[in-house]
Amino acid sequence: MFSVSPEELEALQLSLKVSFWAVGISLPFGILTAWCLARLEFPGKVLIDAIIHVPLVVPPVVVGYMLLLLLGRNGALGSWLHDTLGITVGFSWQGAAVAAAVMAFPLMVRAIRLSLESVDRRMEQTARTLGASPVDVFFSITLPLSGSGIVAGTILAFARALGEFGATITFVSSIPGETTTLPLALYSLAQIPGEEGGALRLMIISIIVAFAAMVAAEIIARRVRRRIAGS
């Protein structure tokens, strides 16, 4: 039964592509957001914090519909993107990546924020006395010292992106080869009588990919921790 069909392989590749882009593009913003929340005090911080967490608490379908209203061809931002930059996010794999990124963002920010908050501020002060500017301190001290949390946040976000279903199907629908990611393919196969084999295969593939990601995360995090052992 383990001969994977081209369609199933396509779904896997698409899922990986969408998740990589989703996480890759949102990581710098995730770190920046986490840093602002961890280190700055500004008016409306509670509100910003709540907005970032919206995808975590509302049904994914709601997020998908919000994206559709905002970024769809007739959406406020979507029409502008289409008219001025010629970019269409709706019903494309880029749209799927946007949906996955939005859904995974709060998880990423939470993990990174926690690790930034655990960085010893005194190390940063010490670096300042040695001539490092605040930006320099961030890249040479803060970022490396919060490395394990950033890895954890990234992998967590990646796993969340891989499993994204509700927001994706609402925002970009399920177009084979374009937006039909692994969960979407699995869902449609499960709907068709006689396709249980394919559904089972996709289920196993999903588990393997997620499992591999978690193991990789643990290994990397451990390596980072060992490097800064004694802290």
Binding site: R122, M123, Q125, T126, A127, R128, T129, L130, G131, A132, S133, P134, D136, S140, I141, P144, L145, G147, R227, I228, A229, G230, S231
Partner: protein
């Protein structure tokens, strides 16, 4: 080097209001914990902002509240050695040492060189180690090296030995003396330990409750009778500059010359002509009004009483001038009355040779 400090900062529990000057060599900020010493060097380093005042290093103003001037910490070229070393845990020893070097503004020719610094501090063997593999003393040596290699114009040391046990402490002090001799970077050394100060400091700024109670050469401040209760930290004594006349070949007794004569102390291994600081605790000095005969005490000095402390404690501190040097004696008020000792009296001060601690070496 000249450092002029005049700063005020409200810290809630108390207010720091300090004005002092420092020059070349090591100046100690001395005082009990909670006297505001650490806050002051934090403000010198730029990690804390004073409410008002001025800080001028050489001819460069680092802080001036009147002109809203504040040089950020990274541009002050002031090295900072913390009590807890604060080595970067994600870098090995070599990368820690190089951190400041890579970021220093100008490549001065007189800046300490990497090879010289690791040689003077004896850390050549540690370069490839991770920081968690180092002992407390090694960590502190690396921290000093890291600060030196950022080519600072001033070095701040915040009780760098306080976290170490006594034995380690005495291992590190010679390294600090050597760095001072080799690189001559002026330093502010925060401490509350008399023994460290006697070994290391040239000048003293005495801090009490956030303010400066006195400043000047260590001997002068330590010997001021009005400050005896503060500088003595529960065990007052005088500080006497001496030099080694005879290195202890005579039955293990070394002879040390000072302005008022010669001290005999139990010590071996002192090098002839070395300059030392002797701390003589007031409670180890007894007084007589005539030259004592048939006593075991080896050090008997004739002198004149310059002051007698005046409060309602049963004991009193008597300051005696011996040929220009100050020796303190702590005796009971009862003895004071019986012997009729008062300022101006001629007395004989007696110090047992075995009562004197190993003298502090000055280089």
């Amino acid at each position: 080097m000249s450092l002029t400090v005049d700063i005020r900062k409200n810290l809630g529990a108390f207010t720091v209001d300090a004005g002092f000057e420092a020059g070349n060599g090591i100046t100690t900020l001395f005082g009990k914990s909670g006297a505001g010493k650490t806050s002051i060097i934090q403000m010198l380093s730029g990690l804390m902002t004073p409410d008002t005042g001025r800080i001028v290093l050489n001819d460069k103003t680092l802080f001036d509240s009147a002109n809203r001037l504040q040089v950020p910490a990274q541009d002050r070229q002031i090295g900072y050695v913390f009590q807890d070393a604060r080595l970067f845990p994600h870098m090995n020893v070599r990368r820690n040492l190089e951190y400041g070097t890579r970021r220093r503004k100008k490549q001065g020719t007189d800046a300490p060189k990497f090879d010289d610094v690791i040689e003077v501090l004896g850390i050549e063997q540690l370069l490839d180690r991770q920081t968690h593999q180092l002992s407390g003393g090694e960590r502190q040596r690396v921290a000093i090296g890291r600060a030196l290699l950022s080519s600072p114009r001033l070095l701040l040391m915040d009780e760098p030995l306080a976290a170490l046990d006594t034995e380690r402490k005495w291992e590190i002090i010679p390294f600090i003396q050597r760095t001072q001799r080799e690189f001559r970077i002026p330093a502010i050394y925060v401490s509350h330990a008399v023994d460290e100060v006697l070994q290391l400091a040239d000048r003293m700024v005495l801090m009490v409750d956030g303010g400066v109670a006195a400043s000047g050469p260590v001997e002068d401040v330590m010997n001021r009778p009005d400050l005896i209760r503060v500088t003595g930290a529960g065990d007052p004594g005088s500080v006497i500059p001496v030099w080694v006349k005879d290195e202890g070949m005579d039955a293990g007794i070394a002879r040390l010359s000072f302005a008022g004569g010669e001290f005999r102390v139990v010590a071996t291994g002192l090098e002839k002509d070395t300059r030392l600081r002797l701390r003589v605790r007031a409670r180890d000095v007894s007084l007589a009004t005539s030259r004592p005969k048939n006593v075991s005490v080896l050090n008997v000095f004739e002198g004149r009483v310059t002051s007698v402390s005046d409060d309602d404690r049963p004991q009193a501190e008597v300051s005696i001038d011996v040929g220009g040097a100050t020796i303190w004696s702590q005796i009971t008020r009862r003895s004071l009355q019986e012997l009729e000792i008062e300022p101006g009296s001629n007395v004989f001060a007696m110090v047992k040779a075995v009562a004197i601690d190993r003298p502090a070496i000055r280089t």
